[in-house]
Symmetry: C2
Subunit: 204 residues, 2 copies
């Protein structure tokens, strides 16, 4: 048990250092030696936890998604109405990811170029995890006769797809400086989607 806690602590410390050094040096220039020095452990200890620099950077993105999913779960379990939950969750996935990389928006292109193929493959799993949380709220809204019928997973995937272009992967360095504008774009898309799944009682 203690060993597991330590493993998680060291992993987290390595990923915290990664976050800091990505901002400072960028992905290409960051070395395992830099990371070891930043954490205050030996280079060999890093390799006990991660196979390569690439795996560290990908795990760093995974951790952002883990934390985002924890937030989405909190919103999904809150007392808000289902439509308010979906709105907040969709905005959260955009603004949380945005904030996660904003301190290294200058070097992020280099990271996302270098890892493009692997990140795209990984995104599929990330998005499926998020979609599962959205689908539960959509089911809740359907049960309350707020949302029209339809496969909750398919609708959830539509919310994910429709906001995916607003995640850092799809944004230029310039756009990564325009938080308010990106959040407004997300809000417009999400409001149209929400109206699109809302049951209008008076409708024939």
């Amino acid at each position: 048990m203690r060993a597991t806690v330590q493993t998680k602590e060291i992993r987290d410390a390595i990923l915290d250092a990664t976050d800091k050094l990505l901002a400072k040096y960028g992905y290409q220039k960051m070395t395992i030696d830099d990371l070891a020095a930043e954490v205050g452990i030996g280079k060999g200890s890093i390799y006990l936890h991660f196979k390569s620099k690439e795996e560290i950077a990908l795990s760093h993105v995974d951790r952002i998604v883990d934390r985002l999913c924890a937030r989405l779960e909190t919103t999904a379990a809150s007392d808000l109405a289902p439509d308010a939950k979906l709105r907040q969750m969709a905005l959260e996935r955009v603004s949380y990811r945005f904030k996660s990389v904003q301190h290294y928006s200058q070097s992020i292109n280099e990271l996302l170029s270098s890892l493009r193929a692997k990140l795209l493959a990984r995104r599929r799993e990330h998005h499926a995890r998020e979609a599962a949380i959205f689908a539960r709220v959509i089911t809740e809204g359907q049960k309350k006769n707020l949302f029209i019928n339809g496969k909750p997973t398919q609708t959830a995937n539509a919310f994910i797809t429709a906001t995916n272009a607003l995640l850092p992967f799809g944004l230029s360095t310039k756009e990564l400086g325009e938080r308010k504008e990106i959040e407004n774009k997300a809000l417009t898309v999400v409001n149209i989607l929400l109206r699109g799944i809302t049951y209008h009682k008076e409708q024939s």
Copy 2:
């Protein structure tokens, strides 16, 4: 006049060769010498039209967008109802871009990684051109009392944003092999958006 026509013909021939060689070699390995040989002109003639290999590749993407916009204009000017036009246009932007790169889906990651920053900067202008065509159809639908009121440009941008993640830039090599699946995703998003902007007469 004749000179201008020739210029356009040679430019087009160079971009046709680019399309072919991107599929054959990929972006990194493709050289200006290869392109000159493929077109059957001297290397110097290529540089009369383009400053660099990078500019050639970006112009190649511009040409795809030019051709897409011509198709969108045709649909926008057709006899279809405004909602049917928007549906077809949104699907067209996904499937046309998809088909444009499908013959080099294996090497596209390398192209998109190499040009990531410049492409992202360029996308803004591409998307604004497309959004202008969507906005006209939305205005048409509002005048016919089919669509709810709202700023046509903002709604148009929402259609663009919501389908952007389904363009080749946001797809993995694996997903670039799944045309039907990508088109279905686009259709789900677009149908929800369309319902979201449609005026329901019976609604209070």
